[in-house]
């Protein structure tokens, strides 16, 4: 750009015409000043363009094709999207399972994480050790060991039913019953509360102690202190955790994949959206259709996130 508009002190607008050489040297100066920065960013930039943005754009293109991974893609227009909207009962089933999972797992997980964080925030000894122990389940993530462990817990002759039998209840095989299996996955998600807990803990530490002191001098009960001080001051952290966990829950794949062995069963009761997408892409060779499914998920997550941000102005308090 060779022309630059400038407002002079008296308010008149003048247009200066730079000479090419001047602009060039200016660009060079800028480059010289920032080149090391870009150099350091390079690995990330390569990753972002090569592994995230590039494939995402390609998948957008593929979502309008009948790509089957083995032959070259043929353009089908919006046929994939039309089919998803009008003629795919499995899409509806997967959507229902995923929404159930999001609606149950996120609030329970956040509540649990907050409770544990508050328990750990009372200046107990050996805090780093407890923190590490409570974080451990999150690290185990989606390993096959979890699938085995969950079966030991929630199968018909598992630990949970053994405990229930003590009080005279004979439970079903929770993990393989279509009415309950999704809730064993919710339990798995709640159990892996480590990362929101760490963030809550950091947030709790930010709350000035003198507020509590003042409140207890005024005779406020613990509950009232929690309700009037902790919760409002923690809302930015809660908001952050809620957004991150909601997005994560929509994208959840491994729990259902390992526990149902990739089938999403019994009777599609654990057919997470991403699992269905995976089955279509890699099991049934419908990469084009799966790409369309993926983009619909992107839009749904975007809508949920936008909604969270819009609602945040009514309940999130930033103390500035």
């Amino acid at each position: 750009m060779n022309n630059a508009m400038r407002t002079t002190a008296d308010g008149a607008v003048t247009v200066e015409r730079y000479q090419g050489a001047v602009a060039d040297s200016r660009f060079r100066r800028l480059w010289n000043a920032n080149a090391p920065g870009y150099l350091f960013l390079l690995p990330w930039l390569v990753g972002f363009f090569g592994l995230t943005l590039g494939p995402a754009l390609i998948s957008l293109y593929l979502s309008f094709t009948d790509f089957d991974m083995l032959r070259s893609p043929g353009w089908v227009g919006t046929a994939n999207y039309v089919r998803i909207a009008t003629a795919d009962p499995k899409f509806a089933a997967a959507m229902k399972v995923t929404l159930t999972y999001v609606i149950f797992s996120v609030p329970f997980k956040l509540t649990f994480a907050l409770l544990v964080a508050m328990a750990l925030n009372r200046g107990i000894r050996g805090l780093p050790v407890y923190r590490a122990i409570f974080y451990l389940p999150s690290l185990l993530g989606g390993s096959v060991a979890i699938a085995v462990l969950w079966r030991q817990l929630f199968a018909g002759d598992g630990l949970v039913n053994a405990a229930l039998a003590q009080i005279g209840i004979q439970g079903p095989s929770w993990i393989s019953h279509p009415s309950y299996s999704i809730y064993t996955l919710v339990a798995l998600s709640v159990w892996q509360f480590g990362s929101p807990m760490i963030i809550f803990l950091a947030g709790l530490r930010q709350i000035p102690q003198d507020m509590y002191e003042a409140a207890s001098l005024d005779g406020a009960s613990k509950f009232r202190q929690f309700y009037k001080i902790t919760l409002p001051l923690l809302t930015p952290v809660i908001f952050f955790n809620a957004v991150v966990q909601t997005i994560d829950a929509f994208k959840a794949f491994t729990p259902a994949f390992i526990i149902s062995g990739g089938t999403g069963g019994p009777i599609n009761s654990t057919l997470f959206y991403t699992l269905y997408l995976y089955q279509e892409a890699f099991g049934n060779f419908r990469m084009g259709y799966a790409s369309a499914l993926a983009w619909i998920l992107v839009v749904i997550i975007a809508i949920f996130t936008a909604f969270s941000f819009l609602s945040s102005r009514y309940w999130v308090h930033y103390d500035d």
Binding site: L70, P172, S173, P178, S260, G265, P266, F282
Partner: protein, 428 residues
């Protein structure tokens, strides 16, 4: 002192590097690099790698890299590699997927190499035919197996119930299984697994009734009547306690580890003969193999000898000749056969079968004798399943669960099964 390099120096260095690498090409032109991929466990990998080593000593200058994954991870990986034009030269292929891959041009036709470079003369010709799609040979069978019932003989004995024989019908077996459950020798153990969602078992039932899963041109080959009666039979087994309840069956992920026999939930389960050795390794009780039950006393031909897996050669391979030679070595070299044993199924080549038979232990002999002794229970190999068959398998499982959990009646289940499979096959 600092090291610096100017632009000219850099260019010169780069050019000489390029030249060097260019020079390297003619010197190694005769070398071939073979890449293999297969699914399976570590023992299979050990056997396969030993065969590769043997091949390398006989063919100096050939290098071989093998890659193996579990069944579930294998297919996504293979599809991704093929789509990325990076397919391995030799690909282990399954009967269920060979039509998908061959039909999409991913596999090289091999018939032009026969018989000089690929000699399958002493193969059972029906099994060779099993690797053909539209008249071209796309896969060389690595072994034969057949679907089979796995029986926990210890539990049958404890309960004082005779083992089923080749003459046992489903009705009789249902009664035996219900008795075994009632005998209650093992806590939480039922007579049999719930096989209503098991595709090979359903196929066997259909074949005995003169039907099949698919026609040769890829259409559905059974009707609502058979499907409904199938679900109804299993509903009765469920009611009488002969088979495990639906929520126990749903634990089965269609592998050896989670089969109800391995989990100690049933005394009979449904599997494939080549899996027997692995089943016996995972069970303390003594196991045996028998056929799938008869629909009626005189019904036959439900079973068939099936190529358990193939080696195919990628159409993208740059070393086609070498890859074909490796496959030929794999199925025809006696030393290779001795290393491979019956782990991938019973060798198709008669000469190799003889090599292996002399070396088998008691457990290894069971599948060999079982497949050899099927008699009139075995019929013709059906045509390879059409595109979409994988999805149809999932539908059978899904609907069988809906019937099992009493969300559908057997009659509605049968109707829905036929409807959905018809729709999937039409979509392709």
């Amino acid at each position: 002192m600092t090291f610096s390099i100017n632009r000219r120096g850099f260019m010169a260095g780069g050019a000489s590097l390029l030249a060097l690498s260019g020079m390297g090409v003619p010197a190694f032109a005769e070398d071939a690099r073979l890449r293999l991929i297969w699914w399976g466990s570590q023992p299979r990998a050990d056997r396969t790698n030993k065969v590769s080593d043997l091949y390398k000593t006989k063919n100096p200058g050939v290098s071989i890299t093998g890659e193996f994954l579990g069944w579930g991870d294998y297919w996504p990986r293979l599809a991704t590699q093929v789509a990325g034009k990076n397919a391995p030269d030799v690909i282990q292929m399954d009967y269920r997927y060979i039509v998908e891959y061959a039909g999409r041009g991913a596999l090289a036709p091999l018939e032009s190499y026969m018989p000089s470079k690929l000699n399958l003369d002493d193969f059972d010709q029906a099994q060779v035919e099993g690797g053909s799609v539209n008249g071209h040979l796309y896969g060389v069978s690595l072994g034969a197996n057949s679907a089979a019932t796995v029986l926990n003989t210890t539990v049958f004995q404890e309960s004082g119930i005779d083992l089923p024989t080749q003459a046992t019908t489903w009705d009789e077996f249902g009664k035996m299984a219900a008795e075994l459950t009632k005998a209650g020798k093992r806590r939480g153990m039922f007579g049999t697994a719930d096989g209503s969602g098991n595709e090979p078992l359903f196929e066997n039932y259909l074949r005995q009734r003169g039907k099949a899963l698919y026609t040769a041109d890829g259409k559905i080959a059974f009707g609502v009547e058979e499907a409904s009666e199938w679900f109804d039979m299993w509903n009765k087994f469920r009611e009488s306690g002969a088979c495990v309840p639906a929520d126990v069956q749903a634990l089965d992920k269609n592998d050896i580890d989670t089969n109800t026999v391995t989990l100690g939930k049933s005394a009979a389960g449904y599997a494939h003969s080549n899996q027997f050795v692995a089943y016996q390794q995972m069970n303390k009780d003594k196991l045996a193999l028998t056929n799938y039950m008869r629909v009626a006393k005189d019904s036959k031909g439900g079973h068939y000898r099936k190529p358990s897996m193939f080696f195919s050669v990628s159409a993208q391979s740059k070393v086609l000749d070498q890859a074909v030679d490796y496959v030929n070595f794999f199925v025809k070299n006696p030393d290779a056969a001795a290393l491979l044993d019956v782990e991938r199924g019973i060798p198709e080549s008669k000469a190799m079968r003889d090599v292996v038979a002399t070396k088998l232990d008691a457990v290894g002999k069971i599948p060999l004798e079982y497949v050899g002794g099927l008699g009139d229970l075995a019929g013709k190999l059906p045509p390879p399943p059409p595109s979409g068959a994988g999805e149809a398998t999932d539908v059978l499982r899904n609907i069988s669960e809906q019937v099992g959990f009493a969300q559908l009646t057997p009659a509605d289940g049968g109707k829905q099964l036929v409807d959905e499979i018809t729709r999937i096959l039409a979509r392709g």
